[in-house]
């Protein structure tokens, strides 16, 4: 056995984040409670630095390193850029919330960084083990973050559920991976694809493995019937953590789906596409219908997330038609567009909850949004944009995301699926518009003036406007998403 030093250059962003995470740990240890801002700024600095590194090392080439375990391509670069951005937004939105509840510990930032690192590794995985490594690094950090308010029974309960179910899902995934390894004799994703291409694998074992892999993936995406943790965790976790769970990991889960299914198991597309179809149909139906019955906004958004992830799967499952991969790039890029725009809208929506909440008061019930227009017309307007966009009303970005996905679905010939999705989106519009109705037509139940740091107000306004304005340039975003796939080939 001989050791060679692998090419570290493609992983320089990951290495930077890892080093900085250690620095944050040390600095926070020394700085103590009064200088908590140092950890915050160092974390933001890390994200900016990583952004710069990824941006400047982005050259459109595909490089494998760490014994083919790590891949650096345009797909990973573009997703990582969005990832840093969304994590930075999470920190800005969540900071005062955490501080008011005395939860702004050094470990919060540390966990955020480690989760980010995990997601980065997951996005860049080209090997089943790297993928699993990234997944676990992200998940373990998330479990801990949900439980960050140790004294709260609700938080610890949610964290416990998340942890146990997550462990189960990991088990399923590992089991599936081992099956596939058994069938193909390799753990490298491109190798798996090649083995499948030359038809040298046992198909019974493969399908067996595929089912378990899809189950593990479905848990991370939170689609029915692997969604049970989502409402409980979204509601139980501190809102700032919910914001985190509801945004960046969705990108990572999307990347995981693409890496596993497209990069590795592409030859089985006919099989997994029908599985995803079942999951997507169930998610869109249950997510939209159950959300109507919720009175807790965080829970409502949890069910909304379930339906959105189902919608995103529609794009992933439209790539191959009768063995013909011609539609693959438009379909996958539409799913990516959906994931990115969902993250943008989700950031804004949870950001609004954070904006309205204050020490001792969680603005997590629908009631708390009553008469917001009277209290702050501007933020009521921002929330309205976000809700309209989530409901898919033209011409906000959410509409074009839905439109692109539906276009892919129709191109793949699943007209009934598109009709089904549209009808349930209409049903879903009800609960989004109810929020708008509460804000504009009901008298306020709470008249405390809204106080929030300037940077958060500014960013939240920009977030809402971005959702509105990006609707004017859907083609540009879609082109970037397509570039992620074409460049990566």
């Amino acid at each position: 056995m001989n050791f060679t030093i692998p090419d570290l250059y493609p992983a320089s962003a990951e290495i930077f984040v890892l080093i900085m995470a250690c620095v944050v740990l040390l600095v926070d240890l020394v700085a103590g409670k009064s200088r908590r801002w140092m950890a915050y700024f160092l974390t933001q600095l890390t994200l900016i630095g990583a952004f710069a590194i990824t941006l400047f090392t982005m050259d459109g080439r595909t490089v494998l390193t760490f014994a083919n375990g790590f891949i650096d391509d345009t797909f990973s670069d573009i997703l990582k850029l969005v990832l840093y951005f969304s994590v930075a937004v999470v920190l800005i939105y969540g900071r005062s919330y955490m501080a008011e509840r005395r939860l702004e510990n050094g470990e919060f930032y540390l966990l955020v960084l480690f989760a980010t690192l995990g997601m980065m590794v997951l996005i860049s995985a080209s090997h089943f083990l790297t993928l699993y490594l990234g997944l676990e690094l992200m998940s373990l950090s998330l479990y801990a973050m949900v439980a960050i308010n140790r004294d709260s029974a609700v938080c610890t309960e949610a964290a416990m559920k998340y942890f146990v179910l997550g462990a189960l899902a990991s088990g399923l995934l590992l089991y599936g991976i081992s099956m596939i390894y058994g069938a193909t004799g390799t753990l490298e994703l491109p190798g798996v694809r090649q083995a499948l291409y030359f038809n040298s694998a046992n198909s019974k074992v493969l399908v067996f493995g595929l089912v378990f892999v899809v189950a593990g993936l479905a848990f991370k995406l939170g689609v029915v019937p692997f969604h049970m943790w989502i409402p409980d965790v979204y509601q139980g976790a501190p809102t700032a953590v919910t914001l985190f769970i509801g945004s960046a990991p969705k990108l990572a889960a999307f990347a995981m789906a693409i890496r596993l299914l497209v990069m590795g198991l592409f030859e089985l597309a006919e099989q997994w596409q029908t599985m995803l179809m079942l999951l997507a149909v169930l998610s869109i139906a249950l997510g939209n219908l159950a959300a109507i019955a919720q009175s807790n906004l965080k829970r409502m958004l949890a069910y909304s997330a379930i339906s959105h992830m189902g919608f995103m799967l529609l794009g992933v499952l439209s790539g191959v038609v009768a063995g013909d991969p011609r539609y693959a790039v438009p379909a996958y890029s539409s799913a990516m567009f959906y994931a990115v725009s969902y993250v943008l809208m989700s950031l804004g929506a949870f950001g609004m909850i954070l904006l309205l909440s204050r020490a001792g008061f969680e603005a997590e019930n629908l009631e708390d949004f009553k008469g917001l227009n009277k209290r702050s017309p501007w933020f009521a307007f921002v929330m309205m944009i976000l809700m309209f966009s989530m409901a898919g009303i033209p011409f906000f970005v959410g509409f074009f995301a839905k439109f692109a996905v539906l276009q892919a679905v129709v191109a793949a010939g699943h007209i009934w699926l598109a009709v089904f999705a549209v009808v349930l989106s209409l049903v879903g519009a009800f609960y989004y518009l109810r929020v708008v109705k509460l804000m504009y037509f009901d008298p306020p139940a709470d008249t405390t003036p809204i106080r929030a740091p300037f940077d958060m107000r500014l960013l939240l306004s920009a977030n809402g406007l971005a959702v509105a304005l990006l609707g004017a340039m859907p083609q540009a975003i879609l082109d970037y998403c397509a570039y992620a796939f074409i460049g990566g080939r």
């Binding site: 179910l165 899902a169 399908v207 049970m228 029908t274 019955a293 049903v427 083609q475």
Partner: protein, 663 residues
């Protein structure tokens, strides 16, 4: 982006910026701020339009995309400009009239509380109209089309506390929906059959459309291009107020007068005329559509003129005159004399804007009394308004050498040369229309500016819009009102003489307007044309001149010489008067048949469809489904981990059995 392209962008964006600033920050910048910023925006736009005009006159035509909004399959949605001679003509007319109206508004709306809002609207209108005329594709055309309609709606209902204004703007809205329905169908057909929304692409496939047949009725194949053109023209009928979709325009006079001048006389209502000219490559392929256009125009030109005779509201007289003149333009379109239609559109824009603004000036002078029976002898009190009104009226009736003469005479001659079915009727209608136009124009002119001063008697009864109650003798309007009148009077006199040669018989519209060889009207017209001066001199031996003179003479006889005669005639011809008074019963028919029918259908749908089907099955049904799903979800979402895990295992189990059995 080249310098010229930046200039193209500047033309519509400068008024938009003005509209946004005046609209959103109206309170902050105050009244003077609002009018300065919007006037500046429109002035910039006007100056830029002049540069663009010079560039186009030098032979530079631009057709390109500025921004691609979205792509759906092969269909592209773009923002793009097509800058050619037709566009620049419209740009100059729109920006110039708009600028005059902006200045005039300072005086007219002086005491209105909605001052900033008004300026914001008219600048927004200018932006929308420019987007409409500069478009190079149907999507943007439709956007501009709807946007000008929206602003028109907002402005008709500008004084939204008056029930009559709300009624009028609702009416305009509904009638225009009918037209837009046809327009949208036409655009839809184009998109469906050509796969493009870009003018150039569509025109290139014109022959294909002309050879495709569709069967609208069993056994009667129509060429597709005919169907498309008629659909598009229905849109034009709504916007340009052609019979039977004209009913909204007279009521639109509820809006402030500057709006009547800008939107409901000079620019927006001519959008339909412009659109048909722009689509000339398509219309030329269908004789049926051209005949249809010509007949509709002829009916409008003549019969709307008659209505002008019996109106007593000063603005309504001008409004019916506008309807009639729009009919003239439409007739010209039908005769394939597109350039003549655009020429008349331009001259009409100047003298009709002038007449409206003069009417507004009279209204200010009369303290917001609009009834011409209460006026008379105003020439002593309002000399500038008097002279400019006289100029406008003379131009309107086609006095030789004034602008209206050149355009109207060309229309009459062009129709005489057309051989399409319906051309004979159209020729009669436009000739008779000359007499009618002269009669109602001078009836109004004599009643307002000459004769006995009647306002002393009636002064107390005037319905006052602003309630500033001091009645007395009329007075001349302030300079911000009279200067635009003078500036508009100048082109009303000279523009026809100066431009008739290049616009009609030169190659100015070369490439912008297409006339097929089957309709050689313009070529024959050019054959007779021997210069603007000769044309003016020749007029004295033609029928239109004598008809106009007869109209003026009759008006003079009836309203100055023997003012008791009209009453006697009215008594004698009660039935005719009744029909005219009721505007041929269009409104009544609309209210009974369409509004009543719609209410009937609505009631049926409400009882059967809404209460039975929607409330009963869909709403309550879906509520039940939601409740049911929520119950089931609640059952599973118990909070117990083992149930959650169980659900996951079941999921895996189902997937496994499913896909194993499939093989």
């Amino acid at each position: 982006m080249t310098e010229m392209q930046k200039l193209y962008l500047l033309v519509p964006l400068a008024p938009l910026a003005g509209a946004i600033i005046a609209g959103l920050f109206g309170k902050a910048i105050g009244r003077a701020g609002a009018h300065w910023v919007t006037i500046l925006g429109v002035a910039v736009s006007f100056v830029a339009s002049i540069f663009v005009y010079q560039d186009v006159a030098a032979g530079n035509v631009f057709n390109g995309t500025v921004y691609t909004w979205a792509t759906s399959g092969d269909l592209k949605f773009e923002v793009g400009f097509l800058i050619d001679s037709l566009t620049t003509t419209m740009m100059l007319v729109v920006t110039f009239v708009s600028l005059m109206v902006h200045i005039y508004t300072i005086g007219y709306m002086h005491d209105d509380p909605g001052y900033q809002r008004f300026f914001s609207y008219i600048s927004l209108f200018t932006f929308s109209m420019l987007m409409l005329v500069m478009s190079n594709n149907f999507l943007q055309l439709f956007f501009g089309w709807e946007a000008v309609g929206l602003v028109s709606y907002l402005l008709i209902g500008f004084w939204y506390t008056r029930p009559s204004a709300i009624f009028a703007n609702l009416k305009a809205f509904l009638v225009n929906r009918v037209g837009d329905f046809g327009f949208l169908l036409g655009i839809g057909l184009i998109a469906a059959y050509t796969g493009s929304l870009n003018y150039a692409d569509v025109f290139a496939q014109g022959q294909k459309l002309a050879s495709t047949h569709v069967e609208l009725f069993q056994g009667e194949p129509w060429t597709l291009v005919t169907v498309i053109c008629i659909c598009l023209f229905i849109g034009a009928m709504g916007k340009s107020a052609q019979v039977p979709l004209h009913v909204w325009l007279p009521d639109s006079m509820e809006g402030p007068t500057p709006i009547s001048a800008l939107i409901h006389a000079a620019t927006m209502v001519t959008a339909g005329i412009f659109m048909v000219s722009r689509m000339s490559p398509l219309f030329e392929l269908s004789d049926v559509a051209l005949s249809f256009v010509m007949v509709i125009g002829a009916i409008t030109a003549l019969f709307m003129g008659f209505l002008g005779i019996i109106q007593n509201d000063i603005k309504r007289v001008v409004a019916y005159s506008t309807l009639s003149q729009l009919g003239y333009m439409t007739v010209a379109l039908g005769a394939s004399a597109y350039s003549v239609a655009i020429f008349h559109l331009m001259t009409h824009a100047f003298f009709k804007a002038l007449l409206f603004l003069a009417a507004g000036s009279v209204i200010i002078g009369m303290h917001h009394d609009q009834d011409i029976r209460n006026m008379g002898g105003l020439r002593k009190y309002m000399p500038i308004t008097w002279i400019t009104s006289l100029v406008g009226s003379l131009a309107l009736i086609g006095t030789p050498f004034l602008s209206g003469f050149y355009s109207k005479d060309s229309i009459i001659e062009a129709v005489a040369l057309s051989h399409l079915p319906g051309a004979g009727f159209a020729h009669f209608a436009v000739l008779a229309g000359v007499f009618v136009t002269a009669f109602y124009s001078f009836r109004m002119y004599f009643l307002v500016f000459h004769g006995k001063e009647r306002f002393h008697v009636h002064a107390g009864h005037g319905h006052d819009a602003h309630g500033h109650g001091q009645h007395g003798t009329p007075h001349e309007s302030p300079r911000v009102v009279t200067v635009p009148l003078i500036l508009l009077a100048i082109p009303s006199v000279v523009i026809g003489y100066l431009t008739v040669q290049p616009m009609l018989f030169g190659d100015f519209f070369e490439g912008a307007i297409v006339v097929s060889e089957q309709h050689p009207v313009m070529a024959e017209l050019a054959h007779h044309f021997k210069g603007a001066l000769a044309m003016g001199l020749h007029a004295f031996v033609t029928a239109p001149f004598w008809l106009a003179l007869a109209g003026v003479a009759l008006a003079w006889f009836f309203y100055l010489k023997r003012p008791e005669l009209p009453q006697a005639i009215r008594a004698k011809f009660g039935l005719v008067y009744e029909i005219l008074e009721n505007k041929y019963y269009f409104d009544r028919i609309n209210e009974v048949v369409f509004a009543g029918g719609a209410r009937l259908v609505g009631r049926g749908l409400w009882k059967g469809g809404d209460q039975g089907l929607i409330d009963g099955i869909v709403v309550n049904g879906s509520a039940k489904v939601v409740y049911w799903v929520a119950q089931i979800t609640r059952l599973f979402q118990s909070g117990y981990i083992y149930q959650y895990a169980f659900s996951m295992i079941i999921g895996v189990f189902v997937l496994l059995t499913f896909w194993f059995n499939r093989g």
